[in-house]
């Protein structure tokens, strides 16, 4: 098992000069175009803190000083905690790499390989499944409970996630009062709001719309979360060619402006509040007008976004390991590896969407979580890179074995073989006869077997009974 949090800066698409140019261009955009904000209280706050506000056009323009002051007050590292298990904490910042799930899908490919609408049970099951998969380091609530009334969606999504995994949790919100209710519920589990803020095991996503637009509801959510002092990502998803320039550099300029505007707003509300520089750069297929999540260009831009976040010393919410393919197939395999490996090698902190997602984020698959666990394991192995020291250089061993010998029975081989190589759970790695003897199974089938086995045998620590009873009294709509 390779734990998350290994560092990498092996891949750099941008030179220092490029980074400064993108920064300057974003500053121009924020000062001249500004952002559109549809929440009066936010506009008032911006005006009060020195932004140029045009109330007629709902615009707030930020000069460089104001932006950089927010960058300064925002924490450089944000920790999201494992519930009752510190070994599962993720400390975001610098070049530390963690990979996890993403959302929010409406459909699931179940074990019968049929696609159906997701339910609340799928939230519980995916949480339980990833709790047993080592190379998925956090849980972004991956799907929507289609059968529930909207007013109980948020509490159900968070409750069933918390109850089924002790890994750090993040989720988007669908109702405005859902923010308060989810925070109250989590505070109950933490033993008080102060304890939750001190060691948050849940965190939130409240999106900014591309290009450069804050809607009223999500702005109020962002302000509420930042006021409470809980971690939040602002998930800016420019769609190059459609909602941002077709050039990768231009999309990075806009994305940077959007990500920084999220940081600005959170820091104006509450200096020091944990906020993630949030990047979901994507492209549109200009031939078909399809939204694409798993493009090579996405991978490049996510790697570049990691460099930008590192430039500002801000923790990053990034995107990778995602595919536009409709089922766990060859396309899913290569798109996931491409889009995961690039940001990971650039030191992207919180690579979400990197497990279980297919169909441009609209469909999840139980088997795919297991396959992606292996992809992530191999990506993390690449992140670890090559350790060079006297022992690993092995000149002594090479000399001892000598020409024509072999290394199979060497002590070093036995000592290092489990950590020097990554061993996937669901790859076919034997020779042909071995594969035939094992039933000629493909990756999808093998992954289903592993997923079934985990779901049947793995039981995470659930919410303690006493607290559970209280929460269900508070929120009778919990299924």
């Amino acid at each position: 098992m390779l734990k998350g949090g290994i560092e990498s800066n092996a891949l750099k698409f941008l030179t220092d000069e490029d980074i400064k140019k993108i920064h300057q261009a974003s500053m121009t955009v924020l000062a001249e175009a500004g952002v559109e904000i549809h929440e009066r209280a936010a506009l008032d706050l911006c005006a009060e803190k020195g932004a140029r506000v045009d109330y007629d056009r709902n615009r707030a323009c930020f000069n460089e000083d104001l932006v950089m002051q927010a960058v300064e007050t925002a924490p450089s590292t944000v920790t999201i905690y494992g519930r009752g298990d510190d070994s599962r904490n993720i400390t975001l910042g610098g070049t530390k790499v963690y990979m996890g799930t993403g959302g929010t899908a409406l459909n699931v490919i179940d074990f019968d390989r049929k696609r159906r609408k997701t339910t609340v049970e799928d939230i519980a099951k995916t949480a339980r499944l990833i709790n047993g998969l080592d190379n998925i380091h956090f849980f972004v609530i991956p799907c929507y409970p289609n059968e529930l009334d909207t007013e109980v969606v948020d509490v159900n999504r968070f409750y069933h996630s918390i109850n089924n995994t002790t890994k750090p949790i993040m989720g988007g919100l669908f109702t405005e009062d859902g923010v308060d209710r989810v925070i109250n519920m989590a505070a109950e589990i933490a033993g008080g709001l102060d304890k939750l803020v001190e060691r948050p095991f849940i965190s939130f996503i409240s999106s900014i719309l591309s290009p450069l637009k804050f809607d009223d509801v999500r702005t109020r959510m962002l302000m509420k979360i930042s006021k409470a002092g809980l971690p939040v990502a602002t998930s800016c998803a420019p769609l190059a060619g459609a909602t941002s320039p077709v050039t990768l550099a231009g999309t990075l300029v806009q994305l940077n402006a959007e990500a920084l505007s999220g940081v600005v707003l959170s820091q104006l509300v509450h200096p020091g509040a944990p906020i993630l520089y949030s990047a979901v750069p994507t492209i549109m297929d200009m031939q078909t007008m399809s939204f694409l999540f798993g493009s090579v260009e996405s991978g490049i831009m996510n790697a570049a976004a990691a460099q930008m976040a590192q430039f500002y010393k801000l923790p990053l919410y990034s995107t990778g390991g995602i595919s536009d393919s409709k089922q766990p197939d060859q396309q899913a395999g290569y798109e996931k590896v491409l889009t995961a490996l690039m940001p990971a090698l650039a030191g992207a902190n919180f690579i979400h969407e990197a497990a279980g997602q297919l169909d441009s984020g609209m469909t999840i698959s139980y088997a795919q979580y297991v396959i992606d666990n292996d992809i992530n394991g191999q990506v993390m192995r690449a992140v670890r890179g090559i350790e060079v020291d006297e022992y690993t250089l092995a000149a002594e061993v090479i000399t001892k074995v000598g020409p024509g010998g072999n290394f199979l029975a060497e002590k070093q081989t036995a000592k290092k073989m489990r950590t020097e190589f990554y061993y996937p759970k669901v790859s076919n790695r034997t020779n042909y006869a071995g594969w035939e003897q094992a039933g000629c199974k493909d990756t999808w089938t093998l992954a289903e077997e592993v997923a079934r086995q985990i779901l049947e045998n793995h039981t995470p620590d659930s919410i303690p009974e006493e607290i559970d009873k209280k929460i269900r009294e508070m929120e009778p709509g919990i299924k």
């Binding site: 029975a409 060497e410 020779n431």
Partner: protein, 208 residues
């Protein structure tokens, strides 16, 4: 008996220095040589076998265990009586003429050895007559013929043919990347295994 358990444990750990120390200590305490060998060293390897089959232990670890056991055996060898250590069988193994590859063949040899077989390794690029000579000299139970290159498959066919024509009593088994079950049957071999672990199972089956 605690000492014997510890000895067993250290063989399984592949700690040869520890094994040597423990065997000496056991001898000092006057523990019977047969007990040291049977209950300590050999019993350890009996535990190792299934652990390898289940994938818990990797082959290099098994080879370490075998090495540790061998080191332990070295010490008590002068004191052993006939029948204290029983060989599972004798195997002559080699790579056919024209093929210089040997990692696969070596792996099979090492695994057979660590499973209790006595192995005579002829080495690489062996012409047919060398296999014949080795059979005459060592009188093995099994002859293992290896090839990695597709271009050396004809040499494998010829080697097996000559051995069979000689009417040797030993079973002839074949293996290597380009070889498969069908080819093995076609050239008249007595068995085929697709990897080292399978080769051990096959050898045991042929000895039964």
């Amino acid at each position: 008996m605690e000492l014997i358990l510890k000895l067993r444990e250290q063989v399984i750990e592949g700690e040869e220095e520890q094994v040597v120390e423990l065997v000496k200590e056991a001898l000092d305490r006057g523990i019977d040589v047969g007990t040291i060998v049977q209950d300590g060293l050999i019993e350890a390897m009996n535990i190792v076998g299934p652990k390898m089959a289940s994938g818990e232990l990797f082959i290099p670890e098994v080879l370490r265990c075998a090495e540790a056991m061998k080191e332990g055996l070295e010490i008590v060898k002068p004191m052993l009586k006939a029948g204290d250590v029983k060989s599972k069988g004798k195997v002559v193994i080699g790579t056919v003429k024209g093929d210089l590859h040997d990692i696969g063949k070596n792996l099979v040899a090492m695994m057979l050895e660590s499973s209790g077989f006595e192995v005579i390794d002829l080495g690489i690029s062996q012409p047919e007559e060398n296999f014949i000579r080795a059979v005459e000299e060592h009188n093995p139970d099994i002859v293992g013929v290896s090839a990695l290159l597709t271009t050396t498959l004809p040499a494998m066919r010829d080697t097996v043919k000559v051995l069979k024509e000689k009417g040797i009593s030993a079973k002839v088994i074949v293996g290597g990347a380009p070889v498969d079950e069908d080819f093995a049957r076609e050239i008249g071999a007595d068995g085929y295994a697709f990897d080292g672990a399978e080769a051990v199972l096959l050898a045991k089956k042929l000895m039964a």
